[in-house]
Each structure stands twice: as C-alpha cells, then as structure tokens.
C-alpha cells in the first residue's frame, strides 16, 4: 500500500470516528493521528469504544474480539490504521480515496 493510500485510510478513520461518535466540534484536522484516542488526546471513554468497535467492524469487516485487542487497535489513529491493514481489509477504504 502506498503512502498516499495509507494517508487516505487515516483520513477515513478520522471521519468514521467523528461520524460515529457525533463529535460536533471536532474536525479531521483536530485529530492527531499519533495521539491516544482515549483518556488524554481526543478524550474518548470506554463507552465510546463500544460504538467504535461496532463501527470499525462493520466498515472494515475486521473483528475486535476482546478488550486487549481493542486497547492495541485504539491506541491511536495510526495504530488503528495499522490494525485494519494488518487484518487485510484496509484496501477497501483506501480504494475509495483513490
């Protein structure tokens, strides 16, 4: 996957998070891809994680079966992108970016 495609996936993930969690005052540019999503950083909580798990699983057909996998996947947007790519489903999202 090219750098451009990876960047496309990162942007898609940012938009998915904003849409899923209805983060009204947050734009994609406000989310730093290397910063933690939970606690500090974007300040999401564990209940937000429930919605994100369902949204990511639906969008990318990957499974987040337990909290440990979730912790690794949701460490940051970059970690989430790596997780989606590792599971082999990132292509679909980056295709949309072209």
């Amino acid at each position: 996957m090219s750098l451009r495609e990876q960047e496309g996936l990162v942007e898609n993930l940012k938009e998915l998070i904003i849409r899923t969690l209805r983060l009204e005052d947050v734009g994609p540019e406000d989310i730093v891809a290397s910063e933690p999503l939970f606690g500090e950083g974007l300040g999401l909580d564990s209940i937000d994680a429930l919605e994100l798990v369902v949204a990511i699983e639906r969008e990318y057909q990957v499974e987040i079966p337990d909290a440990e996998v979730g912790r690794r996947a949701f460490a940051s947007i970059n970690a989430l992108a790596e997780f989606v790519l590792e599971k082999g489903a990132g292509q679909q999202a980056s295709d949309a970016v072209g």
Binding site: I47, L50, E51, V53
Partner: protein
Amino acid sequence: MRFKDKIVLITGGIRGIGAAICKSFLQEGAHVVVTYSQDQDQARSFQKELGPGGSNTTVHQADASDFDAMKTLFDDTLEKFGRLDILVNNAGIRRDNLVMFMSESEWHDVLRVNLQGTFVCCKLALKPMIGQRWGRMINIVSPSGITGRQGQANYAAAKGGVASFTKSLAREVAKIGITVNAVSPGVIETDMTRSLPEQTLAELKQAIPMGHFGRPEDVSGTVLFLASEEAYYITGQVVRVDGGLT
C-alpha cells in the same frame, strides 16, 4: 401498533409469562423470535394457539445459556430481519431446596440458566443494538431476588444477580440509546407457580397487599411499556409487578 415491524427476541417464551409477552408483542405488530428449552409438545401447541397471528413468530429450541447455540440464533435472526430491537430474557428454571440439602447441580443449573443465560443473550444483543443506536433489553427477575426466600437461595442468587447485572449494563450503554431494565413479577398465575405447594400459595396470597395473584398480562403490559418509545428515559430499573408484595 406500537411495535409494528420491530424485531423481538424472547427466551423461554412458549408458556406462562413468556407466552403472554410474545402474544402482546404480536398484537402490537412485532415480529417475534421465541426460544424454548425442551418441551416440543408445548411448543407445537403454543404455535397452534397463536393461529394466523403466529405467522410473525418463529419458535426455536435453544438453551439460552449456551453461547454457541444462541449466537447461531442471533446470527440467523439478524440475517433474516437485518436488526434486533428488543430482547426479553425470560428463560428460567427453579430447583428449590434448603441450602443444607442443595446439591451442586441444583445450584449450578439455576445459576446457569437464569444468570448466565441473561448474560449470554444481552452480550449477543449488544453489537446489533449499538449499531442501531437503539435497543431495549428487559430481564425478568423475581421477588426472591429482591427480598430472598427460604428454599430458593439458588434462584434468589440468580435473580438478584440478574437485577444487579441489569443495573450495571444499563450504565454501560445508556449513552447509546439502549435501555436495560428488569421486571419483577410477583406471584403470577402460571404453570411455574401452580407447581408450588398449596400451603405456600396460601401464605403468598396472604402476603400480597392486593390480596390476589397477578395475571401474565399484568406483566406483559409492563414489559411492553419498557420496550416502547415512551420509556426511553427509564433505564437500570427493577419494576415490581407484584401487587405490593415487595
């Protein structure tokens, strides 16, 4: 038709309170998926009893505490209807005994069906309901689980556990448009209560401020209210439908 085209899954839904809940949802336009554990004859007669209205019902034999069996049923339901709106955990068994004489299997069986069964079905309902940002879970508990009752320590522990589980899960999903409540029917005229000894029934009647047993419809009315749009701001509650017993 408050529940037109809503998809409802009820465990233990072919007799007594469960059957009344099923019929009430059907009358209000829902599609109902019902489970039962063993009694195939009862399942057949229940389907016959539903008559033409039964076309919106599917009846499945499944142990509510068996994760794999229930996952298959949930997956099939989601594949067929594309959603799951309402879950009613009604499947329950009793194995009454004084604690000193209670076998491990009497303890484990009751905990497994009543408590684990509720956990399994709520867990399986979560992802579809979170995806919809709408859902209603209603768990049937018992006065035994609220006040305790001699000879029912296992059942009381299980139902008390379900009540606490209900309150905890309600907090986990409150932000997502999903409510989780429990209904505690008092002494309701069903096969389960009819199996109690005469003397126990007489004592129970005496303890009920209203002076009589409830009807399955009294419980189903409360369940349907909690499942309705009107009840969106009620979550984590144990609603007692018991004539003032507890």
